[in-house]
């Protein structure tokens, strides 16, 4: 489907090698090839490769990375190792990297690059182009946007290489720069930042500190990783485990068990309430064992509709399509949708019992009452599942938790316990005097 460069072909195979072989392969490359290869690896792979290299090579190759990438790799290292590696960097880079290490990895400051194209506000367009020419030969992350700073390094405007090209050379950059543009403070959450990029189709955003001083830029290629990372975290939470924060095959078995045992135990403890509920209705079950037969079918249908609703709402929230104040609109929708789905499923359940009775006479003389119990319960429980599943993310968000914690299994457990109560209450009122 596509032609890859020779390096990327190597990369595919390389990722599956043992660490020792990875180092060997890496060392067999020419310096230029090795540099390009290293830059294209993920942070995870860079850190693993660097730590597998002999100590002397390690800091040599660390220098090949851009300061924001080097900082990401150093985040993975131990405290001691980090200090050691920092010492080996050149003064300028060391300061840049140390500055970036001060930020949490999931805020704008932790994503930004300190290497951006900048101009002084007193330059002319001709001077600016000559100055950028020099900056381009050195390293800047992107020339797409060019930032204009005042004498205190405060960000006062933005322009682009294209606009500088098109402008009359004798104009001052102040005359052509834009002053109405989006900037972000260094403590902005990365999820928020990625929504901003998506909403405004941005290529790069300047990052300023509390005083409006320019600190760096975040470019859209870093945001792709953020979007992917945040979606992965949300999915893993929605599946009922903690976020792994590492590739599936990379994480140790013990760590994997820990990440999954927590929620599984919490769900199990909550689900124990179903045993209490069932015990509470033990006499009814003893009188009409047929009621127990439909328990898994009925409670799982509620869990399924709840899982649908909670997934749709959580994702819409993450994409900024639904805000807290929309809860009422969502509730109204889910009541209608949930009831409709309940009727569909309820009618099928009713037909199943009537049909089975006609064919196998499985359910005795009161089969019609049993069919009614199952049908009505399904309508109630599927509707309740949709409503509970849709509202739970709102409640979690309102009290300050991550709405993605309203995982499908969590909603299913909640609906299982309440579903049993709905089922046996309806059974009691329909079957009293006949089976019960």
């Amino acid at each position: 489907v596509f032609q890859q460069s020779s390096h990327s072909l190597l990369h595919e195979e390389w990722a599956n090698l043992a660490p020792v072989q990875q180092v060997e392969q890496f060392k067999s490359l020419s310096v230029a090839e090795a540099k390009k290869f290293l830059i294209e690896l993920s942070t995870w792979e860079q850190a693993r490769l660097l730590s597998a290299l002999p100590e002397d090579d390690r800091w040599l190759w660390l220098r090949a990375l851009a300061p924001d990438d080097a900082a990401d790799v150093l985040q993975q290292a131990s405290e001691d190792e980090r200090k050691l590696l920092l010492q080996h960097l050149e003064q300028t880079t060391r300061d840049e990297v140390a500055g970036l290490l001060a930020y949490r990895q999931d805020v704008a400051g932790g994503l930004m690059s300190p290497r951006y194209a900048q101009l002084h506000d007193d330059m002319s367009v001709a001077e600016a182009l000559a100055y950028l020419h020099r900056q381009a030969i050195e390293h800047v992350e992107t020339l797409y946007y060019v930032y204009i700073l005042d004498a205190e390094r405060r960000l006062i405007g933005v322009t682009s290489l294209r606009e500088l090209f098109a402008a009359a050379p004798e104009l001052s950059v102040k005359q052509i720069m834009h002053t109405d543009f989006i900037r972000v403070t260094d403590d902005t959450d990365q999820e928020h930042l990625s929504l901003l990029f998506a909403e405004h189709n941005l290529i790069a955003v300047p990052i300023v500190d509390g005083d409006g001083k320019m600190k760096g830029i975040v470019t859209i290629d870093d945001i792709v990783d953020v979007v992917e990372e945040e979606a992965t975290e949300d999915m893993q939470k929605m599946g009922g485990s903690e976020a792994l924060n590492a590739p599936y095959l990379e994480i140790g078995l013990l760590a994997m068990i820990k990440k999954r045992a927590g929620w599984l135990v919490i769900l199990f403890l909550s689900e124990m309430l179903t045993a209490n509920a069932m015990s509470y209705y033990e006499n009814e079950i003893a009188k009409a064992v047929i009621l127990a037969v439909f328990v898994p079918l009925i409670i799982s249908s509620g869990g399924n509709s709840g899982s649908q609703a909670t997934t749709l709402v959580i994702r819409a929230m993450a994409l900024g399509q639904i805000r807290l104040r929309d809860w009422w609109r969502v509730l109204r929708r889910e009541v209608v949708v949930g009831t409709a789905l309940g009727v569909v499923v309820g009618v099928i359940g009713l037909c199943r019992i009537v049909g089975w009775q006609a064919m196998f006479h499985s359910y005795g003389e009161h089969y019609n009452l049993i069919a009614a119990t199952v049908g009505v319960s399904l309508i109630g429980i599927v509707a309740w599942g949709s409503v509970a599943g849709a509202m739970l993310p709102f409640i979690l968000k309102r009290v300050g938790f991550d709405p993605a914690s309203a995982s499908a299994p969590f909603v299913a457990t909640l609906v299982d316990v309440t579903g049993l109560m709905i089922y046996f209450t309806i059974a009691a009122s329909i079957l009293r005097g006949t089976l019960l």
Copy 2:
């Protein structure tokens, strides 16, 4: 947290207005403001706004969009409306848009922009810079990469504005261009394409046809939308419904019911097997009602561990961390992890029964056998849930389905039915001669 431009503030409020008010607000903007505002809207919103505008305004504003964005908007329109709108575009744009409309929206050709910076292979660096200067003043999507085409418009090399800046003016572009680079054919799937961007930290990729002729470029800002869209589709499928392909609050109630009813009914029909399984064990339940009491607890635990495993595996597959050939490694991991999780949960279940017995004498003289039945069943079912949940995406992918269809509810349903059989088989062998 961040300062927005005045337009983006407007956007927030605007999105919540009724269509008539949206048009009014839009018309109250100056032409320059309106253009900037329109470009920043999502395709979805652009299409809705344009269709709400009077006919004369509609094509006027359609012209304001870049050809790839215009093509996306036209994808949303009806066949007739599309033809009508196309006629109103200028000749060049019309050809570009019509060319893009020929592609499916989820392949590279449907994402690309036909406006890229290009050079002829016989130019010198000085000529190239002068030529780019002219292209920059017109419209190209990005100046980050510059593509070198031969006389037949075949893509033969790539360079960057930065490299041109740095090169001696008298060199030819052929001497400084790179010939070992990644290019992609126009029929490449967008999910594949986004993995390629992520793997190689790309900013833009050139798109060629089967003959190697340059067709356009896909830039990373389009890929952010793809990554978000693919993650949303996967999540919605993993939650047990079809992908909505529209924002939650935008989709009609009937469409919403249709998207959810399909899977809900399939799951319900499969879950009906639990009623058969329960009927099959009706005699056992009649003899020992206590067995029914633990049914929801036991089968849901299997569903929960299955949900965890399937989510982790599906996401790892989507990110390219796991390939089909890794199934054996995943199976081994899940056997170990699932068994460990089963032991954790099984021990808690066992303690619950022994503890309840000590406190309330709920379970009669054979409480220890009941505890053993529940404990052993939990180990077996949680381990089985993990394995089944992890393997299902592999099986689906192997036979050509989307692995994300192995939704949490689907796995839970599968594990419910098999889990009942495991539970009652274990119960029969432990309790035979006492309760059964």
